[in-house]
Symmetry: C2
DNA sequence: AACATTAATGAACAGCTGTATATAATTATT
DNA sequence: AATAATTATATACAGCTGTTCATTAATGTT
């Protein structure tokens, strides 16, 4: 069931301007140094308008991250029955394409949002892959294995981005793919 | 070469009072809700005194975390040639003993400090354990394997603490030990 | 005990935050 | 086109932050 109620144009316009302003400012300074006043000035809206849509600047960042995670979910749907190494590739390419956003965001106090959302997303993706009834993980704790895999994925992505993507997406996808196969 | 120059008693007294105040306040509210004014009032020092010792409240938290990491380094030195499952145990026990501090800290915007410091510490511990010249990791990228292992360790510890330690330290140590053996 | 050094204090400051409110402008609907 | 509802604006406010500075207090060393 899709929501068909029209959203007031003013809301879309304000939110677009605000998010666009953040992207612009991110290429000029660290997210932690960007003030709500900065964003309002750049977006050409009243500072109060930002608080009308978001709790604070971290909530704003959180929602921008959420939109990226949704993009990655869509990418994921199209690789449903590939091998890990192959299915990983679109994600690493997507991260690379949005390097400025992700690197600036990860260098800020809002990095927690990304980690939380990406973690939740990956838990959904991998939770059915863990088998402790037979095979290599027989007898182990499924919850701990799932956390082990997912946090390593989140962590390696964060490492890759904050270290200026030292390897190309296809190398990352392949190496991470091998590590996933070994543990799942 | 140990530093023998005496530290002014007032410095020790102020810093002790400040750190003690933070610990106290942590049992009353989330770290993000604690203000520098709160800390100054509780520690019975002038607000300016805190800025005399620390850049801001996150720098203060960072230094408190650093002291815990140092404790864990000391624990580590005594388990140098044990199996992973055994060597892990003192860490998980230490984390359990300081549950209030770690859980409150991880629920804040300062969680990044812990992750960074614990990550750096583990890199030092594990960097010599990766062998890509023979064995299970032959031909793989050593840097990526190291990041994979270390971030999963940091992540699983964070998961364990923020989820109210759902398993006792010995179970965690054993399960994580198995996962480490498999990948190193 | 007297001294020079260092640390702590209190007050003042500009700037940002988050909230509230009255007013104006825009929108969707009739 | 007129209307009611919604959104945006400007302004004001109290509280916190991080810095500065002159003054006072405590410390370690002669």
């Amino acid at each position: 069931m899709t929501q068909v109620t029209k959203v007031d144009r003013r809301i879309l316009k304000s939110q677009e301007a605000i998010k666009h302003a953040v992207i612009e400012l991110m290429s000029e300074k660290k997210f932690d140094d960007i003030t709500v006043q900065d964003i309002a000035d750049r977006a050409n809206v009243s500072r109060g308008t930002i608080y009308l849509h978001y709790l604070d600047k971290f909530d704003l960042l959180d929602k921008m991250i959420g939109e990226h995670i949704n993009e990655m979910k869509i990418l994921c749907a199209s690789t449903a029955d590939m091998e890990f190494a192959e299915a990983n590739l679109p994600w690493f390419e997507y991260l690379e394409q949005n390097y400025l956003f992700f690197s600036t965001m990860l260098a800020s106090k809002g990095a927690h949002s990304f980690r939380r959302q990406f973690h939740e997303f990956l838990i959904e993706e991998f939770k059915d892959e863990v088998n402790i009834l037979e095979g290599k993980n027989y007898g182990l704790n499924g919850e701990i294995i799932l956390q082990f895999i997912v946090t390593s994925y989140v962590g390696i992505v964060e490492w890759w981005i904050t270290n200026d993507m030292p390897y190309p997406p296809d190398v990352m996808a392949e190496q991470v793919g091998i590590l996933l196969e070994r543990n799942l």
